[in-house]
């Protein structure tokens, strides 16, 4: 999509505001940036297509701002109401991702929160939880991959903030664009579904760093180094259900993926008290650049067998990088695409902050589960984190033109 076309779209949404912006003249500020940012940069102008083989928001680069929200169908709502809801949601998502207002979908007007702004790479991604299928008389189409995750010994899960019939991930590089999408989709739910839980997250803003692939988390650690790359030949096979699903996987999941969502609290006060060298031993990588403790750069393979002059493993037996390495887990691979979260200060005075871990895989039993099982048993990092909520969602393939997300499940 060309920049010219995008500017046209934005103009349609907030023409008067933009004209004013151009006519209003420069604002002179006494300190700081010499002139205000009046140009719509790629941060605001970029858009992500709604239609496609896969839903957006999976391989889309990390967003500066994100919302996760889960809904339960309202008492009395079934397959028909769910289908109508997914149709409304898809229409709103398509419009907003193109930078258009979403008003009128649910009989109301657009809230206006995103007026003047470009689409800011907004994505909206829809998923179904295990409980959705019973409530819609679709139990025979429920994928076995939605069977409950095993319990892990380190889980401290809050049921009220876990699971849900329906799940939406919203991401954008502008916080008001993301909030606009959140409110619009909540309004669209109408009487068909009610909010079960909702979480807010963030990542670096585009342009704040030159580091291209990975971000830092709130522990200061580079996160995502081991992620599979879309350019790798087996990327699609690992992350997406094939266009012709294998036996045992329902057809409606063609092009889909499974999302595991975990609210992982970081015990930052404890972590930050640890000297840098100890932190690096816990992770098995250098904090400054993410390189393995056995040397090289961020992308160098860790030399897991190497010992130091003291005869001990350089990367400790319980180092996070060792235990989570694909080679230590039978090649298990998932695409981690998390947000950081920070909900202020908890009742106990510690920061209520950490990682909204979201990972994507064609099969949770070959992605999240084996890795987490191993981490659960012996990860040095586990002393500094706490899994507080969990969800597993079947995310169908992208909608074709004229189709809504989930239509192949709900109408065939």
């Amino acid at each position: 999509m060309s920049r010219r076309r995008l500017l046209g779209t934005v103009g349609a949404a907030g023409a008067t505001g933009l004209a004013l912006g151009a006519a209003g003249g420069a604002t002179v500020y006494a300190v700081g940036r010499p002139e205000p940012a009046t140009a719509l940069t790629s941060l605001g102008a970029d858009s992500v297509p709604f239609h496609g083989a896969h839903q957006a928001g999976i391989t889309t680069p990390s967003h500066a701002r994100g919302h996760l929200i889960a809904f339960d169908l309202a008492p009395g709502a079934g397959r028909k109401e769910a289908a109508a809801l997914l149709r409304r949601w898809s229409a709103s998502a398509r419009a907003m991702m193109a930078g258009e207002p979403a008003g009128g979908q649910a009989g109301g007007h657009d809230t206006g929160i995103a007026l003047d702004a470009g689409p800011s790479s907004l994505t909206v991604t829809f998923g179904f939880g295990r409980t959705f299928f019973d409530r819609t008389d679709l139990a025979d189409r429920r994928p076995t991959a939605l069977d409950p995750l095993p319990a892990f010994s380190s889980d401290h899960l809050d049921a009220a903030r876990s699971d849900g019939d329906l799940w939406i991930q919203i991401g954008a590089d502008d916080a008001l664009v993301a909030f606009h999408a959140l409110r619009t989709l909540q309004k669209d739910a109408g009487t068909a579904a009610r909010v079960r839980w909702q979480m807010n997250g963030f990542n670096r803003s585009p342009g704040a760093t030159q580091h291209p692939m990975t971000s830092r988390n709130l522990m200061g650690q580079i996160d995502g180094t081991g992620n599979p790359k879309p350019s790798e030949p087996d990327f699609d096979r690992r992350i997406f259900v094939p266009a012709t699903p294998a036996a045992g996987t329902p057809d409606w999941m063609a092009g889909g993926s499974y999302a595991v969502v975990r609210r992982i609290r970081m015990l930052l006060d404890d972590w930050e008290r640890l000297p840098l060298g100890k932190q690096e031993q816990v992770i098995g990588r250098r904090k400054s650049d993410g390189a393995p403790l056995t040397g090289g750069t961020e992308t160098t393979e860790p030399a897991l067998d190497r010992t130091g002059s003291d005869g001990k493993l350089v990367i400790a037996a319980n180092a996070h990088a060792r235990i989570s390495a694909p080679e230590a887990n039978g090649g298990a691979a998932m695409l981690r695409r998390p947000f950081s979260f920070h909900d202020g200060i908890a009742a106990d005075g510690t920061p209520d902050a950490g990682l909204l871990f979201v990972c994507w895989q064609a099969d949770p039993l070959k992605g999240f589960v084996p890795v987490q099982r191993k981490l659960d048993r012996g990860d040095a990092l586990s002393a500094f984190i706490r899994h507080e909520a969990s969800g597993l969602f079947a995310v169908p393939g992208g909608a074709r033109q004229g189709e809504y997300v989930g239509q192949r499940l709900l109408e065939s």
Copy 2:
């Protein structure tokens, strides 16, 4: 500060990471933006000077991300500990605003959360609450402008989230840079002060809109149209204490300002149920472009006396724009520089969202107080908002080279 110098600074902070970024090659993503944002744009590269006649973060353009945090001095801590704390805080703020790590100030290492990132226009602004002066035996230097704000009939204030001995406003265009500053300053507090309350906020990302001066709030309304402009001749007089303060204002406040902070919850479910036309009557302005209902553009003066063909005022007697207009308040002026906030869903199921209202003025009795008094009596908007927390802080002038913020109060 030139871009070249800034890149140099960033390079010093995260040299290996940046080198890796450059050497790592392009990441190919299947959907969305054709290439990742590997260039440090002005969003990340811009910096705001720490030293100056005024503290930064007052006339600095709105930040994409902000934190407000209040501290109380610890039992037993007095003027000496406060002076040492302000010295530590100033050193950290100066370093971080220049894009340098803040490690070592408090004997610890930098958390690394901001590594790889540019300064992202970070500002850190320090203020003193009324209670600070008794605890430091400085009651004789307390400005009368810190006398408690009057009670307003619409207040629903939570004392635990109001006031405080010390207050810091952090703003940046990158969420991790802002969080890094927050954690650093919390760590710097050591045993001298403990957190009283802390709030997170946001605004548009630079480049997400072409609208130059004002942002939208979570009601979708353009906010800040009536703000005084730094280019106006009486701007400094209204916002800052003069370099030679008038009688009754202590000398240490030279170049300072007073911040009024209010957590204003928006009753968004109620607001969004209101038809667009009714919303516009409540505000007195058009939602699309912020123009007064009497016509023109956002910057056109409202024709407050104009009546329609029905003989009624076009801008209603209780419209927010009428009641908050400077001409309706004896020319009272304050510089509003708010953040939106969104803390998820409250216990009653409604969004815990609204405005972290921050306004700046040379004298609260000529800025916030008269306007709020009038709004409190008859603003149509008051049915849709609730003031939940409040603070008033004396923000001293900027530190000179070699000086720390508040030194003229604490050491003279």
